[in-house]
Amino acid sequence: MAGDARDERDGDREHPPTDEAALSARLQRLGERLGHVHPDRPSDSSPGQRPTADPSAIARGFRLSTELVAGVVVGAMIGWLLDRWLRISPWGMIVFLLLGFAAGVLNVMRAAGVVPHNTLEPPGSGSDN
């Protein structure tokens, strides 16, 4: 799903710096060696099934609790600071509180998986976690 599409694209991207290339090469060699030891581990080209007792469902539930609040709080904070610095009270607060609310809703929808995380690919090509 996500992994192979990304890996293909990364292959023809610009070359990373040398030490990083050396690190990736070492990781790849280690992966090949581990492949002999763990033949059951899914390789990167075929992302395997997640384990059935997946804790990420509960984890996603926990994520939702604070995402909205965080967006609103950050929006309010930026609005308040702009009001103080530019002396445009109350417009900074009004505008950024609304924008923060929108960002919070976006956060929640992303955390719930309603909106895909990636925004550059056309919808439907669907690579999301």
Binding site: A2, L27, P55, G71, P122
Partner: protein
């Protein structure tokens, strides 16, 4: 009987003075050191024998390694594995401190927002610095979705930036609030037990209910302690994924 009393920071001994403010070794610092020692002993004990058939200690260490590694690999791809030390350290640190905090008379370090904010900012700054270092200005594409009409693009970009900035807030507040609320609830129900049992025999009978509640809540807290460490780790992976593969 004050449920907040358990979160009080006590200075154990002063270390140095910086600008007139006393920098002291606190009980929070003490429990961080204990947590580090626990992790260190676990890892050293596990890698000491390196048996083909793992013993208990080695099995625990290998399971935690496999767990974090598979989470990171499935979220950020194999390129994300170069951040494995960071994610594994964060996961083990939070997990050990969360679980230690459940033991009575200990101090739960992760229920202080200053700790969780420091950890969340560490991740946030890593993402920003690595994202710009690896991708240059392409990293900014994270905020500019494609396929959006040009007249609402500025608005959407603003919202995306705000959404990005709100990450460290939700990242830190979630861990802190869950630990704080859980420990206060435990303390309140524990307080009911002692208060009721002061009323003689009938009080003892009545105290059974909050006592059962405390036992159940302790089990729940154990689950929350693990899940919060996992949530922190998986969100770190998701955020790192944005730095490694932006604009997707």
């Amino acid at each position: 009987m004050d449920p907040i009393h358990q979160f009080e920071i006590k200075n154990l001994f002063p270390i140095t003075h910086i600008g007139g403010a006393e920098i002291a070794f606190t009980n929070s610092g003490l429990f961080m050191v204990i947590g580090l020692l626990v992790i260190l002993l676990l890892m050293l004990g596990a890698t000491g024998s390196r048996a083909m058939v793992p013993g208990r200690l080695q099995a625990v260490a290998e399971m935690s390694y496999e767990f974090v590694a598979s989470t990171l690999r499935s979220t950020a791809g194999s390129e994300g594995m170069k951040f494995f030390p960071l994610v594994f350290s964060l996961f083990m640190f939070i997990l050990v401190l969360n679980v230690m905090g459940i033991i009575p008379y200990t101090f739960s370090v992760t229920s202080h927002i200053i700790i969780t904010v420091a950890l969340a900012l560490l991740v946030f700054i890593t993402v920003v610095v690595y994202g710009f270092w690896k991708n240059g200005l392409r990293f900014l594409k994270l905020f500019v979705p494609s396929g959006i009409p040009i007249y609402i693009l500025p608005l959407v970009t603003f919202i995306e930036v705000l959404s990005f900035l709100s990450r460290p807030v939700s990242h830190s507040v979630r861990l802190f609030a869950n630990m704080l609320a859980g420990h206060i609830t435990l303390k309140v129900f524990g307080g009911f037990v002692t208060m009721l049992s002061a009323f003689g025999f009938l009080g003892w009978l009545g105290a059974v209910l909050p006592f059962g509640m405390t036992v159940a809540l302790t089990a729940l807290e154990l689950l929350v302690a693990f899940l919060q460490a996992y949530v922190f780790a998986i969100l770190t992976c998701i955020y790192l994924n944005d730095a490694i593969h932006p604009g997707h």
